[in-house]
């Protein structure tokens, strides 16, 4: 009875193909396996991604001819950094950008929390689904379309002016810094709602019940149970709103005619002053590194 079976097994045994030999060779060499697996992504991140960043940042230390605009590679100078630290305009722009980024983050946190709370803890499953779609819907429209839509709302003969003029209030126009705050808060709101929503959803109801069983009022429960538990999610959301606002340069240009860090970098690179553009781009990188270190301390990375 076993003989035919054995014969069958013999027939099915794979031929000693090249792929088979390679597999056998790799089986005993875990390091080679790992190298093969990671070579492409490491090459991508290391050479293409980090490499191009390094070249960009090297520009910050190179010399530029004022007349021809040519940058001389490997002609080392700190002139770009001297410019950035001695000319007050760079500090002004940085403060303006960071200020707006903080204001946008605060506004989004205040707006997002009640919406997320309702979605996570109060709404029926059907309403929750509808709200999720509503929150995600704006993300389907292109960023530029939304920015231009706001431009038409805010401009001289736009919607806001049409609503406000009968009350004797002039429309905002397109030169108010306030506009940048308004539009950025609108754009990044979903990125704040979603982390808070999932953070609130994770809090077990039993904790809230235990809190009220122990005599805590609603306010106390919120302050001492809900807020500490959801805080990392709030910080996680703030990473998005803060960093996206910090890096934006299209909205400030379109609706506020204001210069943010990104505008100054863009202007300098498009006008041929690459060293200053490169040096200045180190600034938001430094801010974000500090921000991420703090966020990590606060446990935000576990809530992403």
């Amino acid at each position: 009875m076993t003989a035919p079976g054995l014969a069958g097994d013999m027939q099915q045994r794979p031929v000693d193909s090249r792929a088979r030999r390679l597999a056998r060779w790799l089986y005993t060499r875990p390091r080679a396996q790992l190298a093969l697996l990671l070579a492409a992504p490491v090459l991508w991140v290391g050479v293409v991604y980090i490499g191009s960043l390094v070249v960009l940042l090297l520009n910050a230390f190179w010399e530029k001819d004022a007349f021809t605009g040519n940058v001389t590679p490997f002609a080392w100078t700190l002139k770009a950094f001297v410019d950035i630290f001695t000319k007050p305009v760079y500090a002004t722009v940085a403060l303006r950008t960071v200020g707006i980024a903080i204001a946008v983050t605060l506004a989004d946190a205040l707006l997002a929390f009640p919406i997320a709370y309702y979605m996570a803890r109060i709404a029926s499953p059907r309403a929750r689904g509808a709200l999720l779609v509503a929150v995600l819907m704006p993300l389907w429209a292109a960023y530029l379309v939304k920015a231009f839509a706001w431009r038409t709302i805010l401009q001289g003969n736009g919607f806001l002016s049409w609503v406000l003029t009968p009350f004797g209030i002039p429309g905002p126009g397109l030169t108010q810094l306030f506009n940048a705050w308004l539009v950025l808060s609108y754009l990044w709101l979903p990125y704040m709602i979603l982390p808070i929503y999932s953070g609130l959803e994770r809090i077990p109801s039993s904790l809230l019940e235990a809190s009220s069983d122990l005599g805590a009022k609603a306010g106390t429960t919120f302050r001492r149970v809900v807020l500490p538990l959801v805080f990392p999610a709030l910080v996680a959301g703030s990473i998005f709103t803060f960093s996206l606002s910090l890096g934006d340069y299209i909205v400030p240009d379109l609706v506020a005619d204001a210069k943010f860090i990104g505008n100054v970098i863009y202007d300098n690179s498009s006008l041929g002053n690459l060293p200053v553009a490169a040096a200045y781009s180190l600034f938001p990188i430094a801010i974000m590194l500090v921000y991420l270190v703090i966020a990590r301390r606060l446990g935000a990375f576990e809530s992403l």
């Binding site: 530029k64 001819d65 004022a66 007349f67 021809t68 605009g69 040519n70 410019d83 000319k87 007050p88 305009v89 760079y90 002004t92 722009v93 401009q155 001289g156 003969n157 736009g158 126009g173 397109l174 030169t175 005619d257 210069k259 100054v264 202007d267 300098n268 690179s269 498009s270 006008l271 041929g272 002053n273």
Partner: protein, 389 residues
């Protein structure tokens, strides 16, 4: 060694004479080959129309059909941006104003041209040949496109008395608070300097592009005052057209092209424009070929095409600037009668009053070593500072 000098000098003279004999400048194309099938251009908006806005104005489609050179045009926001674009190495050439051409020639980013390969070059007005902004050491570096002054434009429903001077955007700017439309480029500092030439003669400004520290600071102070009056800055000309349409701006500095666009709307936007009494800054644009152009044969064909009677007539009527050949002027009569007379196409005395855009240089672009002027970088930086604070 001493005796060697004379024969060496003779040889040098011989070389110079020989190079004068043949009209092909070193580094220029010596003969025209087949087109390469593509042409990448840096342009001022409106310099390469294919009938998208108005079907009657199309000087690209026919060129593509005749030469097989597919045209890709990228608009620059200002001259400094154009210089940076050309340095990227992706373009065959572009239509540059004087503040860009001088830098490009000095940096060696553009090549001299062999005008023998451009048959239409012989028709170009003599007043536009071998100028400082389109040649170096007597060698031509391109063909002219057109020239014109920067104008003052206003909304006639708000500004009811037609202005004749630049005052409304400077001292008189407070009358139109927040509604001043201003060109967003460092070269606009020259417009402030031009105004100061008249208003504060004691500053001694003789050239609005070559300013000493004191003159420069006075110009910047004037610009800060303008900003405090609520200037709305435009980079691409479409931005300005939009703010004039929406009423966000009612008066400002412009190019003839925006005036044409706004007046050509249906219904026409209520705007008028004038060349104010003080004179103005302006431009004389030159098509130049990049030193390492990938499609040089297409670029030469384009340079010949753009100064051909039909193309130059269309292009200069479309933008509202002066044509560069008499034949183009004759052709323009069929499109817009009186075009060349209105634009002073061959009236060199008129152009003497226009300060063409040029590059600010530390040497003040003169031979006087005693004075130094603010250079291009200082201008760009001062403008960034003005805009950033």
């Amino acid at each position: 060694m001493r005796r060697m000098t004379i024969p060496a000098a003779l040889v040098a003279i011989g070389v110079v004479l020989a190079s004068c004999g043949s009209s092909v400048p070193a580094g220029a194309l010596t003969s025209l080959g087949d087109g390469e099938g593509a042409l990448n251009l840096i342009i001022w908006d409106g310099y390469a129309e294919r009938g998208a806005v108005d079907k009657a104005y199309d000087w690209v489609t026919g060129f593509e059909k005749d030469t097989g050179c597919k045209v890709n045009a990228t608009p620059m926001t200002d001259s400094a941006n154009g210089v940076q674009l050309l340095k990227s190495g992706q373009y065959d050439g572009g239509s540059f104003s004087g503040d860009a051409t001088i830098r490009l020639m000095a940096a060696g980013d553009v090549a001299p041209v062999n005008t023998d390969l451009i048959p239409n070059y012989k028709d170009v007005f003599e007043g536009l040949k071998l100028k400082g902004f389109n040649s170096k050491d007597g060698v031509p570096y391109g063909v002219p496109h057109g020239r014109g002054p920067n104008l003052l434009m206003w909304n006639t429903t708000v500004v009811t008395t037609a202005p004749t001077s630049w005052d409304p955007i400077w001292e008189g700017g407070s009358s139109y608070k927040g509604k001043l439309s201003i060109y967003d480029s460092s070269i606009f500092i020259a417009d402030a300097a031009l105004h100061l030439m008249q208003k504060q003669p004691d500053l001694g400004i003789t050239n609005p592009y070559q300013l000493t520290d004191k003159q420069f600071n006075a110009a910047i102070a004037l610009l800060q005052q303008q900003k405090a009056n609520g200037a709305v800055y435009w980079g691409l000309l479409t931005d300005q057209v939009q703010t004039f349409e929406s009423g966000d701006t009612v008066i400002g500095t412009t190019w003839p092209y925006q005036v044409n666009l706004l007046k050509g709307e249906d219904p026409p936007a209520p705007v008028e424009a004038v060349l104010p009494n003080e004179g103005s800054t302006g431009w004389s644009d030159t098509w130049m070929i990049a030193k390492n152009a990938k499609h040089p044969n297409c670029m030469y064909r384009w340079m010949n095409h753009i100064i051909s009677p039909q193309a130059n007539a269309q292009a200069t009527v479309w933008f509202g600037e002066a044509a560069v050949t008499q034949k183009a002027c004759d052709a323009a009569e069929a499109i817009l009668p009186g075009h060349c007379a209105a634009q002073h196409a061959s009236d060199e005395a008129y152009w003497d009053k226009i300060w063409y855009w040029t590059t600010p240089q530390a040497s003040c672009a003169d031979n006087d070593d005693a004075t130094t002027c603010k250079d291009q970088d200082a201008w760009v930086e001062a403008w960034s500072t003005l805009r950033g604070t």
